[in-house]
Amino acid sequence: MMRVKYVLTEVLTGLWRNVTMTVAMIITMAVSLTMLGAGVLLYWQVNEMETFFNTKVEVSIFLRTDVTEEQRNGLQSDLKADPLVREVNYESSEQAYENFRKLYADAPDLVESVKADTLPQSFRVKLKDPQQFQAVSDKYRARPGIDEIVDQRQLLGKVFGILNSMQNLALVVAIVQGVAALLLVANTIQVAAYSKRREVAVMKLVGASNWFIQAPFVLEAVFAGLIGSLLAFITLVLAKWLLIDGSLKSLASLLTPVPWSRIFLMLPILAGIGSLISAVTGWITLRFYVRV
């Protein structure tokens, strides 16, 4: 009991004695963990969006205006019989116009300028496996009466590309800051061990156990890791509150929602990663560099 108290007192005085270094350590740790958290959240988000859109995504087969009814019916029955296809819906020019009007209801001038028969009729095809677009496209492209085959996934691909590069950027920043944080942890522990070298020498001399000598140093690093992860978590909460639910809310229909539960899950994850990595770094520093 009294040893626990001793260790805790040592941790607090250690952190305070070296307060500028402690603050630097906590800040870099917080930035690194924020980026790690953002990266992980984005990764989950992108995965979820991909499955979400894969169920919705369609291949649009736009028909020429001069398509014959025979060509259209032939195409429809072939599509229905196709093993790659799950669902086929026909959209006439009138329906397309209805949808168009609904979509651009807030731009009446635009709606005015478009006539129902200028919009092409089309088949909306859902594939069993959305990756199989190329096979479907190759099969039907040459058929008479087809104007264009468009894969919505290609449009989404750009969005996913942006999200993926954001995720990669976050992870790169996390790694770079993480390395800086670890170097600061190592440095802090070296300074702490140096300033306590007399105590450490006496402790070794009288036979204090190794964990007892090392624990205060390692716990200093763990403490910084925990505070850093707490700050990172607060940053993520603010990001969700101010960005995702705030200024980026208009994108909500495109981006699947980020649930609070997932943000809260980041606290134990970041705290675990932050404290574990600091503890290991601290221990390695003591064992191989400082030889405490």
């Binding site: 040893r3 020498a201 402790m203 070794k204 009288v206």
Partner: protein, 226 residues
């Protein structure tokens, strides 16, 4: 109590060994001086006994335990059976005499209550009664060394190692410290002392082991500095 069996210690990059095929046996309760010129290997002897260094060849047995084969996690427990005093005292400057001695107890897990009971006793024993709350810089060299002896003895070790404990002290103070070590020896503690101080060796008339060039050149039961 202490046995060195054909021990050789060569430090990395050293051209010749610090200890060269040395065998010594020290019985429980003995008082032994290691003497010899600087660099003769005396301090290596202390370091071997504390397991600060490991021998290149040979065996070191302390309390009939083979120190050389000891696992590193057992070393702390092993060191609790050995007290140690140095020329430079090695006291913590920001702690009082009481706290310096209590520190040795606290870091091996003894409670504050034990420290409050035992520390005044041992400070009294070394002749520092009434000076418990002085800081090291408020004490004379001899008094500081007494604190160090108290710290080394507070766990009642079986062996007390002293590495030139009088090296920084004037002759009169040195003799007082020697009286103290002698008293500790009379409680049954084995004392091993490395020294340059011919006066002291000649006065004490205890076993003298002289080392030169890493070899034992003399081992006399009631020797003088020579």
């Amino acid at each position: 109590m202490i046995q060195l069996e054909r021990v050789t210690k060569t430090y990395p990059k050293a051209s010749r060994p610090s200890l060269d095929d040395v065998s010594v046996s020290i019985e429980k309760g003995e008082f032994v001086f290691f003497i010899g010129p600087s660099g003769s290997g005396k301090s290596t002897m202390i370091k071997l006994l504390l397991h600060e260094v490991t021998p290149t060849k040979g065996k070191v047995l302390v309390n009939s335990k083979d120190v050389t084969a000891m696992r590193s996690w057992r070393i702390p427990a092993f060191r609790r059976s050995i007290g140690c005093v140095f020329q430079d005292f090695r006291l913590l400057p920001n702690r009082t005499a009481f706290e310096n001695v209590a520190f040795a107890l606290e870091v091996i897990g003894k409670s504050k209550a034990v420290a409050r009971r035992v520390v005044p006793e041992v400070l009294e024993l070394v002749g520092l009664g009434g000076k418990e709350h002085r800081y090291p810089q408020e004490l004379s060299g001899g008094e500081q060394q007494r604190v160090a002896v108290a710290r080394a003895f507070v766990n009642r070790p079986l062996i007390l190692l002293a590495d030139e404990p009088t090296g920084n002290l004037d002759p009169d103070t040195s003799i007082e410290i020697m009286r103290l070590l002698d008293r500790i020896n009379r409680t049954g503690t084995t004392v091993v002392m490395v020294t340059h101080d011919s006066n002291i060796v000649n006065q004490m008339r205890r076993r003298v082991i002289e080392i030169e060039g890493g070899r034992i050149v003399r081992d006399q039961p009631r020797g003088v500095y020579g």
